[in-house]
């Protein structure tokens, strides 16, 4: 297997409610930005992470559609769906195709166009990532499922609403420095705690938003990366993916994400590193509680210690384990299929020293963790300066 590098990243310039842009518009903007960043005008293959273009935009078969609109008609193009982890898995599939030698320059994209439907339809579409027959049937929503994880974490470990709120405060502090963020402003813990309740104990400001957005990355063999681009190549040092029961009631432990733990174990082993060797983390904070449970499942802190570590500032940009310097899903936005690719994009920018005001000093190695449903899918990547 060949070593793989990422030589270009890009996104549509501003995430949010993009009523004037279509799914194909935002994807092509992101893909062209990544190809321009890499300095390539053709690719050999493409993967597109997208959770539900069918329910959000009434369009399936988007691999071919988007290859055509990207000016790459006849390209092998494949859509990847693992709920909200679709983008991260698209990156993994692109890395595998380059590593195998089947293709040299492969684009991994992600896209979700979520605001062409109303709020109730969007809630329904997102709900299909849960167990339709035994969770949604009883009136479950995604905030509701994560609220149940939060309640279990509070009962077992004494985690508080203030700890959850601090995750949102910290991520908005970071997102305020990210030009592409949907909500680039600071918030206070008081504002989080006084915002309306969506599913107790989660307030609306504990939740990531509905977002239109796309992101892309260009991958190639590490040995040819330096010939193709003048920029600092970033090596895909490790990756891992794992699943779990998508139904929360069937998990062994509701306060733990076994899919994340197993995906991370595989990625750590492949990269030959441990959590302590990593300089920054982009993780799936779809809800504030998710960031805490993910940190624990990745081994950044012990079980039940995520909230305390957050209150102590350890996960801030200047802390010892910086988490979500990009603003995370909470502030940057969460176009579900694009999120995993955007996490990779942030780490690449950080490792190149291109992250502007939110730059983590001397970042040499970063980790992304992207998750589907309430933890039924997880994919982890470890990237490092080549």
């Amino acid at each position: 297997m060949r070593d793989v590098a990422i030589i270009g990243v890009g996104a549509n310039p501003k995430w949010g409610e993009l009523w004037g842009r279509s799914l194909r518009d935002i994807f092509v903007e992101a893909a062209l930005a990544a190809m321009d960043d890499a300095g390539v005008d053709r690719i050999d293959s493409m993967y597109v992470g997208c959770m539900s273009s069918g329910l959000f935009a009434g369009q399936e078969h988007i691999g071919s559609l988007l290859a055509d609109y990207l000016g790459q008609r006849h390209l092998p193009a494949t859509r990847i769906e693992t709920a909200c982890a679709s983008g991260g898995v698209a990156v993994k599939m692109a890395a595998l195709e380059v590593a195998s030698g089947h293709a040299d320059v492969v684009l991994a994209g992600g896209v979700e166009k979520m605001t062409d439907v109303g709020g109730a339809d969007a809630t329904y579409a997102l709900g299909t990532a849960a167990d339709a027959e035994y969770e949604c049937y009883h009136g479950a929503t995604f905030p509701g499922l994560y609220a149940m994880i939060a309640r279990a974490h509070m009962d077992r470990y004494g985690t508080t609403a203030e700890m959850l709120a601090q995750v949102a405060v910290k991520n908005h502090d970071n997102g305020a420095l990210n030009p592409m963020a949907q909500y680039p402003f600071k918030i206070t813990a008081e504002r989080v705690l006084n915002s309306i309740m969506i599913a107790d104990p989660l307030h609306i400001l504990d939740c990531s938003p509905i977002t239109d957005g796309a992101a892309a990355a260009v991958l190639c063999p590490l040995e040819t990366a330096k010939k193709l681009t003048k920029k600092q190549p970033v090596k895909v040092a490790g990756f891992g993916q794992a699943t779990d029961a998508i139904q929360l009631a069937q998990r062994e432990d509701m306060t733990w994400l076994e899919s994340t733990a197993q995906a991370a174990a595989r990625a750590y082993e492949m990269a030959g590193v441990e959590a302590k060797d990593i300089d920054l983390f982009e993780v799936h904070d779809c809800f504030t509680i998710a960031e805490l449970v993910v940190m624990e499942s990745l081994g950044l802190v012990g079980k039940g210690e995520g909230g305390k570590a957050t209150l102590e500032g350890r996960t801030a940009r200047d802390g010892d384990i910086p988490v979500n310097a990009s603003g995370g899903l909470k502030s940057k936005g969460h176009p579900v299929g694009a999120t995993g690719v955007a996490q990779v994009m942030e780490v690449v920018k950080q490792l190149r020293g291109e992250a502007g005001d939110r730059q983590i000093k001397d970042a040499k190695r970063g980790l992304t963790q992207n998750m589907g449903g309430s933890g039924g899918s997880s994919v982890v990547h470890i990237l490092e300066v080549a």
């Binding site: 109730a120 027959e133 009883h138 509701g144 149940m148 509701m254």
Partner: protein, 128 residues
């Protein structure tokens, strides 16, 4: 919930039928065709209708079929014997819902599906 899938789920939804692995004894609700132990022979067993709440939330913004119902309690109930399932928590003031609360599963209407208003049944949890 189209009628074909609704009809085939009736044994689970109406009678809480689960599958018990003949090899290792693990119980699955809903039933499955293969166990994590590799076993493929299952005995049909009915779940106990009593148990306790292991986690819960109050849904205040509901999905389209439940917008008229909010706010409502929703939780994971562990029935006697250890199997867990999701159910609404009803006939109890929302402020009184607590982790560990003893409950009994009762056969109830869950929601009306679609424009035709087909009534979908199942179990909800009430204080025991």
């Amino acid at each position: 919930m189209p009628s074909a899938s609704y009809t085939r789920e009736i044994p689970q939804r109406y009678r809480l039928e689960a599958g018990k692995c003949s090899s290792c004894g693990k119980i699955y609700y809903p039933p499955r065709l293969v166990c994590v132990c590799g076993g493929r022979d299952f005995e049909t067993v009915a779940l106990s209708d009593t148990g306790k709440v292991v986690t819960y939330t109050i849904i205040r913004v509901g999905p389209s079929d439940f917008v008229e119902e909010v706010p409502y309690g929703l939780g994971i109930v562990e029935v006697d014997g250890g199997v867990r399932l999701m159910a609404q928590l009803v006939d109890v003031p929302l402020d009184d819902i607590k982790t560990g609360m003893p409950v009994r599963l009762e056969f109830r209407k869950i929601y009306q599906e679609g424009e035709a208003g087909i009534i979908c049944y199942g179990h909800k949890a009430v204080p025991a």
